[in-house]
Each structure stands twice: as structure tokens, then as C-alpha cells.
Symmetry: C2
Subunit: 276 residues, 2 copies
Amino acid sequence: MTNILINGKEKNSININDRGLQYGDGLFETMAVHNGKIHLWESHWQRLSLGCEKLSLSLPNRELIEKEIALLCNNNNESKFVIKLILTRGEGQRGYRYPKEQNITRILSKHAWPDYPENNYSDGVAVCYCETTLSENKKLAEIKHLNRLEQILARNEWESDEFQEGLMSTIQGNVVDGTMSNIFAVQDNMIFTPDLSLCGVAGVMRKTIIDIAKNKGFAVYEKEFSKSELEMADELFLSNSIFGIWPVKMIGKTRFTKVGKVTKQLQEEINKLCQS
Amino acid sequence: MTNILINGKEKNSININDRGLQYGDGLFETMAVHNGKIHLWESHWQRLSLGCEKLSLSLPNRELIEKEIALLCNNNNESKFVIKLILTRGEGQRGYRYPKEQNITRILSKHAWPDYPENNYSDGVAVCYCETTLSENKKLAEIKHLNRLEQILARNEWESDEFQEGLMSTIQGNVVDGTMSNIFAVQDNMIFTPDLSLCGVAGVMRKTIIDIAKNKGFAVYEKEFSKSELEMADELFLSNSIFGIWPVKMIGKTRFTKVGKVTKQLQEEINKLCQS
């Protein structure tokens, strides 16, 4: 059973001179696959392309990646799993300067579908504020690059199952996203989500939700968010490519409507999309 | 000829589930070795220890690392080379959360001594300002972690040999360090170097220079630096563990004394230390 393909070959290790290991010089995408279909593939590809552009990485051949994902899916009977794609700048000499000629390393791996409790969707999740801040750099904002120490430090601030996610803020105190998700607020039937032009990952599910909401006639705004603004919202929810939408029932000590009307409507739209 | 040791074994690849590759979850040190002696080993070990503390990584056994470096040195006739040590949090499951039980991966590799031109030391180097900013996060400041995309983007802003280093600044415009070095300014016989409490790597050579300078009776200050302040200095020089001290002869369009008196004195002290 093939679970890993590196540059199309069945193996599970990379050379230590790979710049992905040496410097975190690369990108990744984490995708949901249902019955052989990559969910939101177009948007994943768009973000990967943006990442390659921002880091001056050669974008690999799209059909090749699709073929390799299909290969991982075919040799497997599970109907639902996660595919992770990592692209690195490949092997190089010591030093930050990279060669003009790039031999990109592409790593595809298949993972079990995570077993999230059903009531994360129906009742919502509790989230905490993380102390680890998100640093700002417009050249690294929005893309899903391999430099993830801030998320690691933030995610490991809490151990108990009391909280399902932690929110990260800038040094100025603006809330940007969760360690592995984006956040949305609903206020007076309008939808707000933090602006990500200086930091944070522009989630593929976030983009999908913005598109769907606009399509349904909602006004959607990207803006700066203080914690107190966030806590005053009528509804709050988190999004990511794998779990879709989780309502937030509790943030810090503030309790919300279990599942708000708008959140529920968007959950239904996302479910339809997943089943289509 | 052994050039790489991974957890003490001669091999050259790591599992793709290693968190060093997946998230840049680790640290490194780049050390000069002369005739089997690790130069400034005590300071390298101190910075590695600080890094392990800040990232909650288990610090490996010091004697083990020393033994492995000796092994790499013994099988080799070159008198001078570079040893790079990478520590990662080891293999893990998908996700930012890390296991309590850590199986640290330690990677030691030996590299040829870089062939820097002699006149980098005698005449000085020309440096440019990089556009890529350094982001601020006190939890990641000072340590030499594996998240190096900012340095990579900065180093690849120039291609010509006209510049030997690029200086990086915060989003507010304060100069912090070079892509692979620290910077010092001499003004009225006092020595200044950027404060690194929010970003930048606290170089082992930087620390050595501060100690030596204080020992020689100089006042040494760590402070914020604007570009114009830097350009008004009497002398400027760069430092790193491998090259030691390079005077700066040109910064942007400002030309300096080729090699200032204080710079020369410190170069001589560092040379003595290297030969001891």
C-alpha cells in the first residue's frame, strides 16, 4: 500500500541537504480527499501557486501532482482521507543563497481522516487565546510555508481537551487566526474575518466561505480585530480544509449562542459542496 | 570518509515525518573546527541550550555530541572545516502538537571551509540593505532555529558579487543584522550593536566580540539602530562564527575608512583566539 511518494517514487526519506529540512524552504497543502476527489483542489492549487510566486519556487506540473494523488488514492479502500503535499526547494549547498536551477522536491503523503467529535459541529468548540504572537511579514503572509514554529509554540501552550483551538494575535493584540484554522465573526448579519495582508494563512476553506457567503448575498469584510471586538460578535466560527466549519461556543470566558443562524446556513452550504 | 552522522549513524537521509522537515521544528549551529578543536564550542553550546529551552526541546547529551564531532574530525585530514549540527524534534504525527516524549534527531555534517577572499578581511566588504524585513517575536529571537525563510528571501535579493552581505531591518526600519552575520558600529571609541530581544540571531562570534571588547576596556551598548545612525558610525564591521570579523567599507552609498583602528584591534584579538 503506497502511502508516500517523493518525486513520484515510493520511498519515505529525503536527503539531509534538502532545503526543506535545512531552512524550512518550502510550502505545503493539506487536502481532504473524498472517494478519490480532491476537495477544493482548484483553491489549493491557487494558494500553492501564490506560495511558489512569493518564494520564487518553480511550480511543478499540475497534471503530474494530480496523477500522483490519484495513484495514492487508487491503492486504497478508505473513502475519506487526508493528502499532504510538501514542496521544497530541493537539495542545495550550505547557505541561504539558492541555485537558479531548482530541483524541487515534491512529497505526497496519505493520512487517516482525523476523528473529530460530532459535537464540534453541532454544539461548537471552546477556544483559548495563545500567548505566542504571530509576526508580521507581508512577503510570507497568506501562504502556507514550512516555517511553522509560531504555530507549534502556540499549539503547545495548552494540553487539556477543554480547548479545541487557540487563537493567535499580533504583537499589537489583533486576533489573526487559530493555530490551524481561520476565524469568522457574524455581526448584524454581516460577516467579518481578520485581514491577512501582513500575517496568517489564507485558508482554502476561508476563501470558499467568503465566496459562498457573498454569493448568498452577505456583505463580507476583511479587517483588523481586537479581542473585545471579536467577543462582541453575534456568532463566531472557525474554518479549515479538513473539518470545514466549527461554531465557537466559548472564547476565553465569553459564551456564545450554541450554533448561530448564519453559521448553520454556511455549514449546510459547505456540506453540500463536500457531497457534490 | 564519514561526512554525516544522524543520531550517531552514518547515513544521509531522514524520514519525511521528521518535524524538522514538516515544520522547521528545530535548531542549528554552524561551527568552525581547526585541527580537531571546535572553535567557541562553549558559546555554541550555550546558544543551543537557550534554543532548546525556548522551544521546549530536550537538550541532547553534550559529551555525545562532542564524541560524534570528534569522530567526523578524525576521519579527515583537512585542518580546517565547518561542522553543522541540526537538532529537530524528531518524527511525529501530522499536526502542530508535539508528543511529550521527544525522540530528538541530531544531524552532524562536515563541510569544506569556505573560500572567502583575503581582502574581505584586509580591505573590508560592501553591504546592501535588503527589502525583506525581519519579523519580531520574542519567543524566537536570539536563537538559531530552522525557520529561515526571511533570510533566504533577503539573501536572494542580490545576485552580483558587488555585495558580500545584506542588512535586514524590522518593519519599523531598525537595522538588526545581516542575512548571515551580526553588525557592530564604532563611534567615539564606544562599540554599539543592535539589540536582539525581539528578532535576529545572537551570534556566537557577536558574543565573543562583546566579551573581548569589554575586557579591553571598551563600553559596549546594545540598542536600536536606524539606517542613518549606522551610516554615521566611525567604523562598521560584521561578525560570524566562520569568517570572524569583516570590516564594512561601503554601506549603501556611504564609504567608510577601509579598516578602522578598533576593528583592526578586535580582528587581531579574534585571530589570537582562533590560533589558541
